[in-house]
């Protein structure tokens, strides 16, 4: 696609702008900022990716993945501010998920060990892991807060912290995983995944595009499960002290 053709697609930005102005929605400024940011950010990423792909250097791949982990950690940890050491826990989770998935992909020779595959797949894995972390932390902190009586009940009856928080932990893990599982149930029926659509538009064989999409979806199932479970089991012990007492906000 030429830049001239791309500039014509700005019609799709003009439509919401006109609607916003006409109906006094007050979204013109946000729409313009969002458009400018997406142009700048995506073009920048495009040029960076081109540079990394051309150089084919392992160091640049590591740097790109590292940058993704840092940005995702920064974003996700805000939702778990009440949990002690949450930044480290989120970072450890994201890194573990990335290492696990790439080890399987590269170890079984499912995808080639090139920047062209590692970086986009890492982006999807880390991005999903970040969203899962946010979903989990949101739910978990709310559960802990609203179910303090239950937690205290189990502790008071001689239960351990793990027993006291078990129900809240399981509820939060399930709640954060459900969107991933549910969206996979309707995939192909309701929406065509963006990556698969992109490949087809770019001229790839639809069957091959589907195969690749299936790989990504299975990968995201693991990402969802490992992220929620790992973050959960890393987080809950910090809610208690050595005397098995629930640490409350002071």
């Amino acid at each position: 696609m030429s830049y001239l053709t791309l500039s014509i697609t700005l019609i799709f930005v003009l439509i919401p702008l006109i609607l916003s102005k006409t109906l006094k929605l007050g979204l013109e400024k946000d729409t313009i900022i969002a458009t400018l940011r997406s142009i700048v950010q995506l073009l920048a990423v495009g040029y960076v990716l081109k540079f990394v792909f051309d150089s084919d250097s392992l160091l640049y791949i590591f740097m790109m993945v590292g940058l993704m982990v840092v940005a995702a950690t920064h974003n996700a940890q805000k939702k778990g501010a009440a949990i002690q050491g949450i930044t480290t826990k989120v970072a450890v989770t994201l890194i573990s998920v990335e290492v696990l998935t790439q080890s399987i992909l590269l170890g079984f020779n499912i995808t080639p060990a090139t920047a062209q595959y590692i970086i986009p797949i890492s982006g999807m894995v880390i991005g999903n892991s970040m969203v899962l972390s946010i979903l989990f932390l949101n739910r978990f902190t709310a559960e802990v807060e609203s179910q303090q009586d239950q937690t205290e009940l189990i502790l008071s009856l001689g239960g351990t912290p793990k027993q006291a928080i078990h129900r809240q932990l399981i509820t939060s893990i399930k709640a954060s995983m459900i969107p991933t599982i549910e969206s996979q149930k309707t995939v192909g029926l309701v929406q065509l995944p963006g990556m698969m659509s992109g490949q087809i538009i770019a001229g790839a064989d639809p069957i091959q595009a589907v195969q690749f999409q299936l790989l990504i979806m299975f990968l995201l199932l693991t990402t969802a499960a490992v992220t929620s479970v790992m973050l959960g089991f890393l987080s809950y012990p910090t809610l208690f002290n050595q005397r098995m007492q629930l640490i409350k906000d002071k």
Binding site: D149, E152, L157, G158, Q163, R243, M244, Q245, K248, K250
Partner: protein, 243 residues
């Protein structure tokens, strides 16, 4: 308090605060073994915090707490909480049946309560055996509190802490719970420490009373003290002027 009995729990200059907010200030005193002691005082006096210090749901920042002559920190938390049971004010229940709640303390230890033992417990707390399989969400306030007490008794605690368990009950349920507490005390010789806002209840049921205000114990003694307190603040409280 001049205690004529062996103390089940003893506090020695205990302080507790949440952040910079002092809740308990220099608490010293004993709860006699095998007796019923009521804790009375206005809201925010620190009564619930004191109760939670007794079974290790909270720890004092300074001072010592002794349980049966042993410093509280020398107990493993799990051991302590089975020795000193607590029935919480809101009587929290796990979702499910009465039986599932009664067996919970043993399930936490990897065991289970037999149906016969569960029925005996229900009988002990004055509940019909038909209630065993009933969902806890279908229980009345009084039944819920009785199940909560019965569940605490599963661990056979030597000390039973009760946190305002009758505050939201009607007169009939309140009387039943009072009778139940006396029965538990007499039958199992359980030491009972009971927070109540009901001074008449403290007079009738309690052997001893602690009056707490602003995180301090302002007067202690046999429950009769409530008829003729020495401390001016307690006098006003008893007259209903300091709630």
């Amino acid at each position: 308090m001049s205690v004529k009995y062996k103390p089940a729990i003893h506090f020695n200059h205990v302080d507790f605060s949440f952040g910079k907010n002092p809740i308990l200030k220099g608490i010293t005193g004993s709860f006699p073994e095998g007796k019923i002691t009521t804790l009375v005082g206005p809201s925010g006096a620190g009564k619930t915090t004191l109760l939670k210090l007794c079974n290790g749901l909270l720890s004092a920042q300074s001072g010592e707490v002794y349980i049966k002559d042993r410093e509280i920190e020398s107990y493993e938390p799990v051991e302590l909480r089975r020795l000193v049971g607590i029935a919480l004010q809101s009587a929290p229940m796990i979702t499910g049946s009465v039986y599932e709640n009664l067996t919970l303390p043993l399930e936490l230890q990897g065991e289970s309560l037999s149906k016969d033992d569960a029925l005996e417990l229900l009988h002990d707390v004055g509940l019909e055996k038909e209630l065993l399989e009933r969902k806890v969400k279908d229980l009345s306030g009084g039944q819920r509190q009785k199940v909560s007490i019965a569940r605490t008794l599963v661990n056979k605690p030597e000390v039973l802490l009760l946190d305002e368990i009758t505050s939201s009950l009607d007169r009939t349920s309140l009387r039943e719970i009072e009778e139940l507490i006396v029965k538990i005390n007499r039958k199992y010789h359980t030491t009972i420490i009971w927070i109540t806002h009901n001074l008449q209840q403290a007079l009738e049921i309690g052997d001893y009373t602690w009056v707490m205000m602003d995180g301090e114990v302002v007067e202690t003694g046999e429950s009769e003290l409530l008829k003729d307190p020495v401390n001016d603040k307690v006098k006003r409280f008893v007259r209903g002027e300091a709630e």
